[in-house]
């Protein structure tokens, strides 16, 4: 399936100041066997005085931009065309949850995909005692790791209420979990915390979801803005799988990826520091349109 993705993020600043600097993680990459980026263009208005591209530890493209003069309004546009390959069918060769630790321990090295990066608490995601307890309650003896991932995802979907207005970017996962509501970012952080709590390495994926569902299927939550879901490591055999707790499904051909990391802070699409004070307003619009090959 091919998709044309258009994203616009716009900001208005109440009291602009000089030397605004932003770090963007918006340019997608090819992912072997999953997605090919056929074209991508990231533009800003006004045009920044400096623009530099780097690749971060996890392999995400990082665009750092600076405006030397004060900027009171800013728009960021991404337009990209993806080829998303369907996920191959696979058998569940993942070890029982109780045996996963041995799989992890057998691996050495600090490569970005090593599960060890995703076991401990990161800034925005646990383990956290209450979420760990919740996850333990979901797992039954003998479950494979893959089954456990799906079971925890489904349980969260059943337990949590999607509410686009209830939380903010800065809301801690524990708070969203205590109130049992949130947006995709909260669902994702909570599921990551649950998985890590029971010893399953888990991280954060940012990306897009097709705007209109295939004929006859319901429109998915999270299609109006950038989306987030979970990546979990389910053993040496299967490696990483992706699950979307906001929609209770594995992230399949309807999903394209922009960045991945341990939690939101590793992949934040726009990280910005503006000198001076005053509030800011932002808006985001996304279109993910399938095109005929």
């Amino acid at each position: 399936m091919r998709y044309d993705v258009k994203l616009r993020i716009a900001y208005k600043y109440a009291s602009p100041s000089d030397h605004s600097r932003l770090v963007l993680r918006l340019l997608p990459n090819d992912i072997p066997a999953t997605q090919t980026v056929l074209s991508r263009l990231l533009t800003m208005d006004p045009m920044p005085d400096e623009r530099r591209e780097r690749v971060d530890f996890f392999g995400n493209n990082l665009t750092s931009v600076v405006w030397h003069q004060p900027v009171d309004a800013l728009s960021i546009d991404l337009s990209a065309r993806f080829e998303r390959k369907p996920d191959p069918k696979f058998l569940d060769f993942s070890p029982p949850v109780t045996a996963l630790a041995a799989d992890i321990a057998a691996l050495r090295g600090l490569a970005p995909i090593a599960p060890q990066h995703f076991t401990a608490a990161s800034r925005r995601a646990g383990p956290h005692p209450e979420m760990t307890a919740f996850a333990r309650g979901v797992i039954t003896p003998g479950m494979t790791t893959l089954q456990a991932v799906e079971a925890i995802g489904r349980a969260l979907y059943a337990e949590m209420r999607f509410d686009a207005t209830a939380t903010e970017v800065s809301t801690p996962a524990a708070e969203a979990f205590a109130k049992r509501h949130g947006v995709c970012q909260d669902f994702t952080h909570i599921m990551i915390s649950c998985l890590r709590g029971v010893g399953i390495p888990a991280g954060y994926v940012s990306g897009f979801l097709r705007t209109d569902p295939p004929p006859g299927e319901p429109r998915l939550e999270g299609a109006d803005a950038m989306h987030a879901w979970v990546r979990a490591w389910v053993g040496v055999e299967l490696g990483w799988v992706e699950y979307d707790p906001t929609n209770a499904q594995f992230a399949g051909a309807d999903y394209v990826t922009v960045a991945h990391g341990r939690d939101y802070d590793d992949v934040a699409p726009v990280r910005g520091a503006l000198r001076g004070s005053g509030g800011q307003e932002s808006s985001q619009a996304v279109d993910v349109i399938p095109i005929m090959a």
């Binding site: 030397h19 600097r21 932003l22 770090v23 400096e50 530099r52 780097r54 971060d56 530890f57 996890f58 750092s64 600076v66 030397h68 691996l107 050495r108 090295g109 600090l110 090593a114 060890q116 990066h117 076991t119 401990a120 800034r123 802070d265 934040a268 990280r271 910005g272 520091a273």
Partner: protein
């Protein structure tokens, strides 16, 4: 130890000095003989009478108080400071022994650099199984942003500290490595200043090594690092987390001592990959930073996004190779406690030899055999978080000390080790050596053996590691030589390295045979200028209010009731400032002074200690008066005391402060605030509807009663008051005088005459000056007062926009 008649333990102050069995003592060797390095000092010290001892100690304390050395603890009270806990008696080591220590630690420094280069480079130590992957991948101090980034200048580590202790067998061992932003070197300098004043005769033989050589070496290394590329010279500076940090005093002290700029995150911008310091003359490129801020707070775009003390983009300056850091971001990972369990083997692996100085025995409970050892020997160990970067004796709440096991079910430790083993380390519960410290009052105290550790400092130079020939000792309470004692606090002490013959006498002051080099003061960071400007404004505002409150209480003492129209005018005038003058010490006064102190605290490196102490004294006086002052005469007298103290501060600034750019901003702040205060007061107190007596109030508040009598020889009227307080060029309490002052101050600022023509600032000041110079009192209508205030606000705004942002 056996006591023999006439032995050292019969000397004054050493009676009953009995080191515990099973620990080493710095003063006496295992056979009870005094170590030779101490002989000279002890001979002198034990020859002092008690009053002499008291006088010596007081001399040291006085120095520390005068120098403003204090210790700040993180607490809920923002600026809580306590007296510097100096142990007056130094720790003395022979330089043969010291040289061995330094040689061993140089090996360790090289090892740490090699481990660092691997952790942020090829990662072979982990890949080959010499370090557990969890210790790195789960470690918050391991900074992924640094992986693959070559440090500018080729090295990650440039300034290190090692906490060392002496074992019962007399050998030394490392308790911890300080690699992130080691503190203490500045405190070592301060301690030395104090001991030099107390024991001057000990230094006269020139057998105690000086500290200056080391700092000279480090400064040169930093300058070389900053200027490793061809081109215009680039600065090096110290980057501090700011006044809220417990080591901030040290940062200000060492910045002054080394002549380095002291910068906070907001002083820097990164432009085109180059870190620059914002100065009143525009951005200037930086080549190297001595980083005293923890990496995670240094760049909110790269690390902790919630940090407000960092510089956005600093990591980019590092990644592009334009900025060298001492030490590199991510060096905190080397402080990880569990690393101690692996360093000895890694050294053998990388260098083919054993560590010349062992570190504290450490077992990582993530591996089965070590876990079993810790389980079986828990009574002799301290068990704590594996990834902690605290020193072994800085235990947190989740530390289990051997003795605690009595209160803990045996099984729960086993459970903990079995389930959380990878997050735990066991460390040997070490015994430290003891050193003589004065315990008790000067009248009755004695030298007692107290446990100690020494912090050793190393700097990378072109000729290898250079070590401070001295150190920073921490001394624990008497009676317990285990590391446990250090947990309960104690003192800090100077460390003397004594040679058998004369030692070199290096100094940071250039010698005759070196080319003359003026210390690099120059550039004033915009933030420092901003703080000085507002310090001036707040102090003047404070003075203004005090004078008005005094005028109120003087009237109150001579009138019957508070409904007197004059009192009401003053009350109404002060109301918008939040000041109720019927309160003998209105809280807003304290607020203004606190604001002034906050500004001063942010520029302590550019601010004399006398000035700082004067502000603190003022604050103390105000707070004391708030408890006691009564309305009327008493409050008026209290205000007079405060005014005298404020004048004392102004005098310090006027008489003693070097006329560098910072002084100009401080004085500009005062001038603008005073001019504005005068205009505001005149507008109210010369109003045609003002109550009788208001002219006198204006003249009195402006401290011009005598002048008015001499100049006009008539009673006050509107014209004389306006003439004297607005239009007089010779009255320091007149608006015109202050505008002239502004012009004079501004003319010394950079860029004030671009292309030889007056810039915006002068274009705002000159017309105002002319207007006041040619005006007569009648033309200064109430509307004019409003215009004047607007013009003064405009001048302030132009100063801010041109220099302070």
């Amino acid at each position: 130890m056996e006591k023999t008649a006439g032995g050292p333990m019969d000397l004054p102050y050493l009676e009953g000095y009995a080191p515990q069995s099973g620990v080493s003592d710095e003063l006496f060797d295992a056979r009870g003989n005094m170590r030779p390095a101490w002989q000279g000092f002890i001979d002198g010290f034990t020859g002092l009478t008690r009053p002499q001892v008291a006088a010596r100690f007081e001399r040291g304390n006085q120095y520390l108080r005068d120098a403003g050395v204090y210790f700040r603890q993180y607490s809920n009270e923002p600026l809580m400071e306590r007296e510097w806990p100096l142990s007056h008696v130094p720790v003395i080591l022979h330089d043969d022994e010291w040289n061995d220590i330094c040689a061993a630690l140089a090996q360790r420094a090289d090892l740490l650099e090699a481990v660092m280069a691997d952790l942020y480079g090829p990662g072979k130590l982990v890949a080959d199984g010499h370090l557990p992957v969890d210790l790195v991948a789960s470690n918050p101090a391991w900074m992924r942003s640094m992986v693959g980034v070559e440090p500018a200048g080729g090295h990650y580590l440039h300034f290190l500290a090692f906490e060392i202790g002496r074992s019962p067998d007399g050998s030394w061992f490392v308790l911890g490595d300080r690699t992130q932003a080691p503190s203490g070197a500045g405190f070592a300098l301060e301690n030395r200043m104090a001991t030099t004043r107390m024991f001057r005769e000990s230094f006269s033989g020139q057998q105690i090594h000086r500290l200056a050589g080391f700092f000279g070496d480090f400064l040169n290394a930093l300058d070389t690092l900053a200027n490793r590329h061809e081109g215009a010279p680039r600065r090096s500076a110290i980057l501090t987390p700011g006044p809220a940090n417990d080591a901030y005093f040290e940062h200000t002290y060492i910045a002054r001592y080394l002549g380095l700029l002291l910068l906070e995150g907001e002083d820097l911008i990164v432009e085109n990959g180059q870190a620059m310091v914002r100065t009143i003359e525009g951005p200037e490129p930086l080549g190297a930073l001595w980083r005293r801020i923890d990496a995670q707070f240094a760049d909110p775009l790269e690390f902790d996004p919630d940090s407000h003390i960092g510089t956005p983009g600093l990591m980019e300056a590092v990644a592009t190779g334009n900025l060298a850091l001492a030490n590199a971001f991510g060096s905190g990972v080397l402080e990880t406690r569990a690393l101690m369990a692996f360093l000895p083997k890694i050294n053998r692996l990388l260098n083919g030899e054993a560590l010349a100085m062992p570190n504290i025995a450490t077992w990582w409970c993530g591996s089965p055999s070590e876990r079993e050892y810790v389980r079986a020997n828990a009574e002799k160990l301290v068990i704590g978080p594996a990834l902690s970067v605290d020193l072994p004796f800085e235990w947190g709440a989740n530390t289990i000390v051997g003795g605690d096991l009595r209160d803990m079910a045996r099984g729960s430790l086993d459970d903990l080790l079995a389930t959380e083993g990878a997050t735990l380390v066991g460390q040997e519960a070490v015994n430290l050596s003891t050193t003589p410290a004065w315990v008790g009052s000067a009248e009755e105290g004695q030298l007692r053996p107290c446990p100690m550790t020494v912090r050793v400092f190393a700097a990378r130079t072109a000729n290898g590691w250079s070590f401070l020939k001295g150190g920073y000792a921490r001394i624990g309470p008497e009676g317990d030589a285990t590391g446990l004692a250090m947990q309960r606090g104690g003192w800090v002490g100077d460390v003397w390295i004594r040679s058998d013959g004369p030692v070199p006498q290096p100094s940071l002051t250039p010698t005759d045979d070196e080319p003359y080099r003026r210390i690099r003061s120059g550039t004033l960071p915009s933030r420092a200028a901003d703080n000085l400007f507002w310090l001036g404004r707040y102090l003047e505002r404070c003075e203004d209010l005090i004078r008005l409150v005094r005028a109120y209480h003087l009237r109150l003492a001579t009138t019957d009731g508070t409904d007197d129209p004059l009192l009401k005018t003053i009350r109404d005038y002060l109301a918008p400032f939040g000041v109720d003058p019927s309160d003998p010490m209105p809280a807003p006064l304290l607020d203004r002074l606190s604001a002034a102190q906050t500004c001063a605290s942010k520029v302590r490196d550019r601010f004399s200690n006398d000035g700082w102490l004067a502000l603190k004294d003022l604050d103390k006086t105000m707070r004391a008066m708030r408890e006691t002052a009564l309305p009327g005469d008493d409050a008026a007298r209290a205000m007079s005391v405060l005014l005298r103290k404020l004048t004392g501060f102004a005098g310090l600034v006027h008489e003693n402060m070097y006329r560098f750019a910072g002084w100009r901003f401080l004085s500009l702040g005062r001038a603008i605030e005073r001019a504005d205060g005068l205009v505001a007061m005149l507008a109210t107190f010369t109003d045609s509807n003002a109550a009788a007596g208001c002219f006198d109030i204006a003249v009195e508040v402006a401290d011009s009663v005598m002048t008015h009598q001499r100049r006009y020889r008539i009673n006050t009227n509107r014209d004389t008051v306006v003439d004297l307080l607005a239009l007089d060029a010779d009255n320091p309490r007149a608006v015109l005088f202050q505008v002239n002052e502004m012009k004079r101050l501004v003319e010394g600022l950079p860029g004030v005459m671009p292309s030889g023509r007056p810039g915006p600032l002068l274009r705002a000041i000159l017309p105002l000056r002319t207007r006041l110079a040619v005006a007569d009192p009648i033309s200064i209508t109430p509307e004019v007062f409003a215009e004047l205030r607007g013009e003064l606000a405009n001048i302030s705004e132009i100063i801010s926009a041109s220099y302070l942002r």
